[in-house]
Each structure stands twice: as C-alpha cells, then as structure tokens.
Symmetry: C3
Subunit: 133 residues, 3 copies
C-alpha cells in the first residue's frame, strides 16, 4: 500500500534503484509491509527540465545529494513506527546509495482504506457490496 | 477540482493522453465533476531519469504496463462513489489506452475546500471577506 | 517544512527558478516560514515525456502558461493565512516569472507534526524518547 515518490538530483538508474530499495526495506522492517507491497515512482532531476531546491533549515547541512521521499499511506501507524521508519530509511540510504543521513528528507501523507485501488478497479482494503474480493 | 497525477512507464504522448482522458471521464461519470474541471500532470518514464517500481501484492499480476493514478480531491465523496470511480478508471484505461485493469493503481488524498486556489489568487471554494467571487 | 512541487509547461531553468522563488517568498510572507525552510521539486514538461492538462473551470481562462503548485504542510494554518498565501503566490509568480494570475493553480495537503523527517533520520517536529533533538 504505501505509495512512494522519490526525487533526487542527477541520479542515474543505479542510484535511483538503490534509494528505492532503501525506502522499501525500511518500510518492510518498521511498518511491517510485505515484500511485494512495493509501489514507487523514482525520478532523477538533471537540472534542465527539473531540479530541486533546498535550504539549511534546522541547521541541517544539505547539499546536492539531497533526496526527497514522499510516502502516502493509510492512517494508523504509531508515532514510534514513523520514527523508526525515518531512522531506517536514513541508515539504508547511506548503506545502499551512499546518501548522507543529513540529506534524507521524508514526508508522510495519510489517507483511509477506501482511498486505495490496487488493481482490477477494486477498493481492496474496503470491499463493498458486490466486490470481487 | 480534482488534481490528478498520472505516472506510466515508457508512455509517449498518445498513451498519456488516452490515460488522462480515461481518468477525467471516470471522474465526470462517477464523482460528477464538470467537463472543464480538468487538471492533470501526465508523466511517462523512460528508465533513464525516471522509472517505476512495483510488486505483485495481493496476487495482482502487474507488469510494465502499470499506471499510477494519484488524485487529490476535497473530502466528501462516499465510499460507493470511490468504488465506482476505481471501476470506471480501470474500464476506460483499458478501452482508451489498452491498459489492463490489473495494471491500474489508484490512490486518493483528501483535503478541505479552503485548500484550493483555482486561479487569480483566490480560494474559490471557500471565499472569505473581501473575496472577488 | 512546507514541501512544494511545481509543474509547468515548457519551463526552462530560469522560469522554474522564478516560480520557485515566488512560492517560497509567498510562504515566508504569509505563513511565516523562515528563509531556509525551503524544500521544492520544480519540473518543466516539454510535451514528449510529460505534459499538463487543464480546462476552463469556473470561467478562468487558462492557457499554456499554467502552473500547478502542490504544497504539503502541517495542519494549523488559518483560512485567512491560506487566502493570503494564494494571493501572494499569484502576485509574485506574475512579478518574477511573468505568469498570469489566472494561470496559477494551488492545492494544499495537510499532515501532522510527526509526519516529517527533515534529515538525520529524525522526526524533528515530534521528537520522541531517545531522540537527539
């Protein structure tokens, strides 16, 4: 279910792949999603038709290695789970993609069970009358 | 009002256009939005600077034809309307773009009336004191 | 904290930069965010792998100069602040990028304090037990 959008600067396919794996494994470990619950849009911006802007807010020294991770997920995760998720994303982004933890920016947006259709035109998390599953 | 973001793999202008029409007509038919209430960002990813990741979660056999449809809309639609929307998007994506219903992934995010400005710097759905409309 | 995504048609680096500045300064002036609280993804679509769709909804005469501004921010801003934000974005987009106010479309999505990690794997707005800040 989580739907993940990752934006990075100048990231080729290999680095995008590493970042995607970092976020996915962090979600599996801290939120408990299954391995095949994997839905991501990965985009590298080369400065011509797309780019990122950032500041040093809260004293964090960000640079061109910055990665934006935007995750949409169903409401219900605890604050402790979210904190564990952030920590693990930062760890694995460093391990897999060489991204410094200071450069990992994560934002979550929550919605409801009925707000998802995972294929076949169905609302799998909130099946209604006449639904196939 | 709905703001729609569609991401697909290797989709040229024609396929993106067909997918955009599918989602727009489904919104008109099931949610009742007017024809000119049409706001979309359509992006095809070619694997160099952007790509999609996906798994077989819930037993759905997804492949490179996968389409992510992310819709932001005001709160207030019923569960039945949302279910009808998913079913109709899947039908029309198949009819217009040849996309298999198993490859249509939809996620909704709701907000409030005051969270929209549809031009001229105004909050058209929640006009305040001194607003022009 | 606000996380901003701007999508425009055929926008080169200079126009994207001007639009980004317009939105950032409007956020500073009307919402009170500090200058370095600056987090944006700016994308120009050239019609090959990405494009925008739009209609004339509510009688607004939109054209190829259209700009979509999607802002994720913590809940808590008043309706008056949001109205001021829309007005100021439209003004500054015109002043900095030559964008007509009729072509400025803004949508807000709110979340909670614990939904942000601004680096170092921490939830800076909702520090928990054992957090470093």
């Amino acid at each position: 279910m989580p739907f993940v959008r990752i934006d990075a600067l100048g990231a080729g396919p290999q680095r995008l792949d590493a970042l995607g794996r970092a976020v996915h494994e962090a979600l599996m470990e801290t939120i408990g999603i299954p391995p095949d619950d994997h839905f991501q849009v990965l985009v590298g911006h080369d400065g011509t038709n797309g780019t990122l802007r950032y500041g040093g807010y809260l004293g964090v020294r960000r640079d061109e290695g910055l990665v934006y991770v935007a995750i949409t997920l169903r409401a219900g995760r605890t604050d402790a789970q979210k904190r564990a998720l952030y920590a693990r994303i930062a760890e694995l982004a460093h391990e897999y993609a060489g991204t410094e933890p200071r450069n990992v920016f994560v934002v979550l947006t929550e919605n409801a069970s009925v707000d998802w259709s995972l294929g076949h035109g169905l609302a799998q998390y909130a099946p209604g009358p006449g639904a196939l599953m």
